[in-house]
């Protein structure tokens, strides 16, 4: 049997982290191929329900990344997002979602190496806890 490979959804803000992902490409920084990137305008756009839905749809890990504090293209979107993320991550972990599945980072569009390093880190961390089994929406468990 082939080794299990996790599927990880990454929500990246258009201006910083998505740019870093692009720059990592330009710089040919190799990364594990487990991450599927969804571009959002700003980490402030990140509704916690996207994290829930990603887990529900069987993502083994979720990674959200935005601009560094103070560098938000929209001035302060990431500051608001940071509070949401902190509380929501804590809540998910509190009900038993493994902390290794949820990742947050600030990566500027120049930090291609950081992007590649965090990508690697995220994948390794998810691999450590194995395939996701919680909060996955399967055929309704009813009669």
């Amino acid at each position: 049997m082939a080794e299990w490979e996790p599927k990880i959804l990454a929500f990246l803000c258009n201006w910083c982290s998505y740019g870093a992902a692009d720059l990592a490409g330009v710089s040919r920084l190799k990364q594990p191929p487990n991450i599927r990137i969804i571009r959002i305008p700003c980490s402030g756009r990140m509704n916690p329900k996207f994290i829930l839905q990603a887990l529900r749809k069987g993502a083994d890990g979720v990674w959200v990344s935005g601009c560094h504090p103070g560098d938000c293209h929209y001035i302060e979107g990431n500051y608001y997002a940071r509070r949401k993320f902190a509380l929501f991550k804590n809540l998910l972990e509190y009900v038993g979602i493994e902390p290794e599945r949820l990742h947050f980072s600030w990566i500027s569009s120049a930090e291609a190496t950081k992007f590649a390093a965090v990508a690697k880190d995220v994948v390794e961390s998810v691999k450590k806890v194995g395939p996701s089994s919680r909060l996955i929406k399967r055929e309704a468990e009813v009669e």
């Binding site: 490979e5 599927k7 959804l9 258009n14 998505y18 740019g19 992902a21 692009d22 720059l23 990592a24 490409g25 330009v26 710089s27 040919r28 920084l29 190799k30 990364q31 191929p33 599927r36 990137i37 969804i38 571009r39 959002i40 305008p41 700003c42 402030g44 756009r45 990140m46 509704n47 916690p48 329900k49 996207f50 839905q53 990603a54 749809k57 993502a59 293209h73 929209y74 001035i75 302060e76 979107g77 608001y80 997002a81 949401k84 500027s108 569009s109 120049a110 930090e111 291609a112 190496t113 950081k114 590649a116």
Partner: protein, 1049 residues
């Protein structure tokens, strides 16, 4: 050694004689070492084996990271074997390279069955440098870590493998290398390769190398391209040639040329950079180990007329040194010891003083007031010992691992030459001559100047001046504005609403960039099976002109109503494809990209995984595309008139600049006369008298046909948004509504009225402006004074006002010099904390000392004590040199009191713009948008932004005008379609969106429901994600679209 080398060459010759097609090894060519495929036994004489210390290489080239050897031949070999599997070749390889080849073979990347390896055993020194545990060919088992290949600097900086030339990279300050054909830096826009005509073998005619031409599938390289001279007819020229950082080679006492661990601040900047040669890893160059102690020497090449001719202050070094120290601590860790050796700490910029305090108090950066005498090598170590004299006169010594020279800014001979050709006068330092009242004008009409060429300055100041120069040029050229514009025309948009989605998918090979890793055919076949996909094509370069034509045809022929391009990145290419959609009559928002190059083929090395990922990305993009809706870009007419609030120098300058550029301006002033704070000023730091200038400016403004002036007027209300503001102003006579497209806030600042140092108790204790009054009037007290004392930082750099007021040190110098001029016998004392005579103002400081002004430094916790004794003022202060108390009894005491903001609360609320903790306005971006607000169409200039000198205020005012013209010059303003919209039925009126939007786009309508003004919305989606009831959606990124991508990921 020689025997051993010869032995290897013999092996290689043998192979060629046996009929091998070539042997890969190293060869010196054109002064460079690089990989070479030796074809004849004769050539083998040039085969180099020991490449350990390539002296021609930049210092970091050979060992970028620990554990990574020098140039790795495995990469070259991989290319050759993949391209020419038929060739039988040999290769001279070290153990690490052999392991890499084995790994490549195991992965099925190459077929090495025709490869003959000549093994080299690395000498122990090399193995030590590389941290190699397996220098011998006996150990072939590759760990698969790939670090040998991955971290190769070639990979990190450029992908142009074929070029054999290596040169120090300018971008990395020579700390890494580049090829003769290279990409300047990875963030470059557009991201294009350039050739270095000086080193390219083909161009220089050294060799008929066409490596790059052969591999370029886009056929972009023309070797016979020639330099052309073009002639342009222009109405105005703006000079922004910049500066060079000072080269400290001449300072032999600092060992810059002799020791690898003495580097310049710019080199250190590259070490800190994530995109730099060490990827942000701070190392000392001698052994590539992390330093434990770093010292910065300030004023290297600045404020120095002994060792160089740069008497001026470079204005930026103090701040960047602090920043570097803080970031270095972040990178290396809190334990890193950082020390900055300085003379005066000049953190006069907005928010800089806070940063300085934080660096000292929170980050523990050490600040040592001393100019270091010399640097010596600690023998037997890589450490450096520095000797310096401290404040109290004692000599100290300390050892550091790394010394960073904070080099200054200077003008090059090329720039002087350019100025000469253009006919622009320079001052003795090589900076462009200017007047404080025309800060961006040169002596030649129509030629303007900005940036460090005008004088040493930081980014915000440069950006302001750049806009100011544009404003001046714009005023000059306003009669011909818009005459060269060509409008693009598009066919009418097809209505696709209610049509089932018909998605066209275009998959790009990007030459081999995508196709080399991703199985494009497989992705294409897969895309065909996806719902709503009607058409799939693959293209060699989807961005090429002819593909755009094909795309337009396909849209028409297959009646496509959504388009997905799977290629590079939307960040660079979305606009191009959107234009193609528009040309085909489709709304540009019916487009989605799958990033299968930057985020896929370029970052993976497993073709199968990369192909799988590409399929997923295409499926996600198609799923989103099916849900895309055509979006409107609302267009509103622009009221081409401006409102300028504040009739001081900044406000009048902005108003006049706009009026000169042909726009109507409403200038509102609260007081009964124009002029503002400048009415009280004596002279600018350049020595020019302010009074005459202000008088002239006022009369120009009053006479200008485009300017309406409202004196004794205040703003009562503001409504609307960029292009369409409605402001009600009120004066004694009543209210009036003004319609305008933009607003410039130039509401000024004022002098702080001190409560300290006995101010107000004695008429001989004055503020700066009061002293200016005496100077202007030729007051007898100045002629009669025997002693005048200035006390600096009155009300500034204090806990309750923790910013530097920027202008007071210079103001003191100007006043002190004038006193000395009018009354040379008068003794003048300046009690200061740091003299912040930044830039060329430093010369005033120098001059003041020459004229006998005495400077005594005090600390914040040992302030001068002012008292009254027998009817005279008595000042006691501890002399910093003598370390003894000094008592002064001046005839006049001048307090360099702070500049404080006015009460801006109301106006900030009117225009929905923020104030900082100190009460000044907060610009959209401290560095890049220094006069803009986050709110479109509103700009700031003058003291309301931060304390600044009159020339800086004028430059900023012109900058604000230039920014305003970007709106005013258009008849209509178009807003993006990707904005938030509310569903009134779902709105709970909770007010979260109204409260959090940084752009004040949502507001309550008359039914109490939230509505988003598309003219203000920037499309960030913050409100959308914060709306609990799901009443707001972000067009183009709505929940359904994002959910569809999540589902298909």
């Amino acid at each position: 050694m020689a025997d051993w080398m010869e032995q290897v060459r013999e092996e290689a010759r043998k192979l060629l004689q046996e009929g091998y097609d070539g042997v890969l090894g190293f060869r010196f060519r054109a002064g460079q070492i690089g990989p070479y495929l030796f074809r004849t036994p004769e050539e083998i004489d040039h085969l180099e084996v020991d490449t350990r210390i390539p002296t021609q290489m930049p210092p970091l080239f050979s060992q970028i990271q620990e554990g990574v050897p020098k140039y790795n031949l495995a990469k070259t070999l991989r290319l050759i074997l993949r391209k020419r599997p038929d060739m039988r070749i040999g290769a001279v390889l070290r153990g690490c390279e052999v392991r890499a080849i084995r790994a490549l073979q195991e992965k099925g990347e190459i077929d090495a069955s025709n490869l003959k390896i000549i093994n080299l055993v690395c000498p122990p020194e090399q193995a030590a440098i590389c941290n190699c545990e397996k220098p011998s060919y006996d150990v072939f088992k590759c760990t698969g870590c790939w670090s040998c290949i991955e971290a190769c600097p070639e990979d990190a900086i450029t992908r142009i493998n074929v070029c054999p030339i290596l040169s120090p990279s300018e971008y990395n300050e020579g700390l890494s290398y580049r090829k003769a054909i290279y990409i300047k830096y990875p963030q470059g826009v557009p991201l294009k390769a350039v050739r270095d005509a000086e080193t390219c073998l083909k161009i220089t005619g050294k060799l008929d190398c066409k490596g790059c031409e052969r591999v370029c599938q886009a056929e972009a390289i023309f070797h016979d391209d020639e330099e052309k001279i073009e002639e342009l007819n222009v109405g105005s020229v703006i000079l922004a040639p910049g500066f060079r950082s000072f080269d400290p080679k001449a300072f032999d006492v600092y060992l810059y040329s002799n020791h690898p661990n003495v580097i310049t601040s710019l080199e250190f900047e590259r070490l800190l950079a994530a995109s730099g040669p060490t990827m942000g890893h701070v190392v000392r160059l001698s052994d590539h180990k992390e330093p434990k102690k770093i010292a910065w020497f300030q004023c290297v090449g600045s404020r120095d007329i002994n060792r160089c001719d740069n008497g001026y202050c470079s204005a930026v070094c103090c701040m960047y040194a602090i920043k570097q120290a803080v970031i270095a601590k972040e990178h290396v860790g809190k334990d890193l010891d950082t020390a900055i050796f300085f003379m005066d700490m000049r953190t006069h910029g907005k928010d800089f003083e806070r940063y300085y305090e934080k660096a000292r108090e929170e980050h523990g950066v050490r600040f040592i007031r001393s100019r270091v005498h010399s640097v010596e090598v600690v023998s037997g170590t890589d450490q450096l010992e520095i000797t310096y004299v401290t404040d109290d006169g004692s000599v100290s010594q300390e050892r550091f691992d790394l010394v960073v020279l904070s080099v200054g800014l200077e003008i090059t001979d090329e720039i002087r030459d350019l100025a000469k050709r253009i006919g622009v006068e320079l001052n003795q330092n090589g900076f462009c001559n200017f007047s404080a009242f025309k800060p961006v004008a040169t002596n030649r009409p129509g030629v303007y100047v900005c940036g460090a060429f005008q004088g040493p300055k930081d980014i915000p100041q440069s950006v302001m001046e750049a806009s100011a120069a544009a404003a001046d040029a714009g005023a000059l050229l306003s009669p011909v504005r818009g005459s060269l514009i060509k409008e693009r025309e598009f066919p009418p948009q097809v209505n696709v609403v209610n049509e089932p989605p018909r998605v066209g998918v275009f998959i790009c090979h990007c030459g081999i960039n995508i196709a080399g890793m991703v199985d494009v055919q497989a992705v294409k076949d897969f895309a065909k099976t996806l719902p709503y996909v009607e058409y799939v094509a693959d293209n060699l370069y989807t961005c090429s002109q002819d593909t755009q034509a094909l795309m337009r045809e396909a849209i028409k022929e297959h009646n496509l109503n959504r388009v997905v391009v799977a290629a590079c990145t939307p960040r660079t290419h979305e606009p191009l494809f959107q234009e193609t959609l528009e040309a085909a009559g489709l709304n540009k928002y019916l487009f989605e990209m799958a990033n299968i190059r930057n985020q896929d083929s370029w970052v993976h090395d497993d073709p199968e995984a990369a192909t799988k990922k590409a399929k997923d990305l295409v499926r996600m993009a198609v799923a989103k595309a099916a849900l895309l809706k055509p979006l409107d870009e609302p267009e509103l007419s622009v009221n081409q008139e401006a409102l300028v609030v504040g009739g001081g120098v900044a406000g009048m300058t902005a108003a006049k600049s706009l009026a000169d550029q042909g726009f109507k301006v409403h200038l509102v002033e609260r007081s009964s006369r124009l002029g503002g704070a400048a009415l009280k000023l004596n002279s600018a730091w350049t020595g020019e008298k302010v009074e005459d200038f202000v008088r002239e400016l006022v009369s120009d403004v009053e006479a200008h046909p485009n300017i309406s002036i409202y004196l004794s007027s205040e703003i009562e209300s503001v409504d609307g948004f960029v292009g369409n503001f409605r402001t009600v102003i009120k004066n004694g006579a009543g209210s009036k509504e003004i319609n305008h497209g933009v607003a410039i806030l130039a509401v000024g600042g004022k002098e702080y009225k001190p409560t300290e140092y006995g101010y107000g108790t004695d008429p001989r204790i004055l503020t700066h402006l009061e002293m200016d009054e005496l100077l202007k009037n030729g007051d007898a007290r100045i002629k009669d004074a025997k002693c005048v004392v200035f006390i600096q930082c009155v009300g500034s750099r204090e806990p309750e006002r923790p910013y530097c007021s920027r202008v007071c040190c210079t103001h003191t110098l100007v006043s002190a010099l004038e006193i000395k001029e009018k009354n040379p016998e008068c003794s003048v004392f300046v009690l200061y904390r740091d003299m912040r005579s930044y830039g060329e103002r430093e010369e005033l400081y120098q001059k003041a000392r020459e004229k006998g002004v005495i400077f005594i430094r005090f600390d914040r916790d040992r302030k001068p004590i002012v008292s009254s004794e027998n009817g005279s003022i008595k000042i006691e202060v501890v002399d910093h040199v003598l370390q003894r108390p000094v008592a002064l009894t001046p005839d006049l005491l001048v307090l360099a009191s702070a500049i404080v903001p006015g009460d801006f609360e109301k106006i900030a609320q009117f225009f929905k713009v923020p104030l900082n903790e100190d009460g000044f306005f907060v610009e959209a971006h401290a560095k890049l948008r220094p006069v803009d607000f986050a709110t479109d169409g509103v700009y700031v200039c003058g003291l309301a932004h931060y304390p600044k000198s009159i020339d800086e205020s004028i430059a900023q005012a012109k900058a604000a005008a230039a920014r305003a013209v970007t709106v005013l010059s258009k008849e209509t303003v178009r807003f993006a379609g990707t904005v938030a919209v509310t569903d009134q039925r779902l709105c709970s009126s909770c007010g979260t969106c109204v409260n959090i939007c940084p752009f004040s786009a949502p507001s309550f309508n008359d039914k109490g429901k939230a509505e988003v003004n598309p003219a203000l919305c920037k499309g960030c989606g913050l409100c959308v994600a914060s709306c609990r009831s799901g009443a707001i959606q972000l067009l183009g990124f709505d929940d359904a679209e994002i959910f569809s991508m999540i589902e298909c990921a």
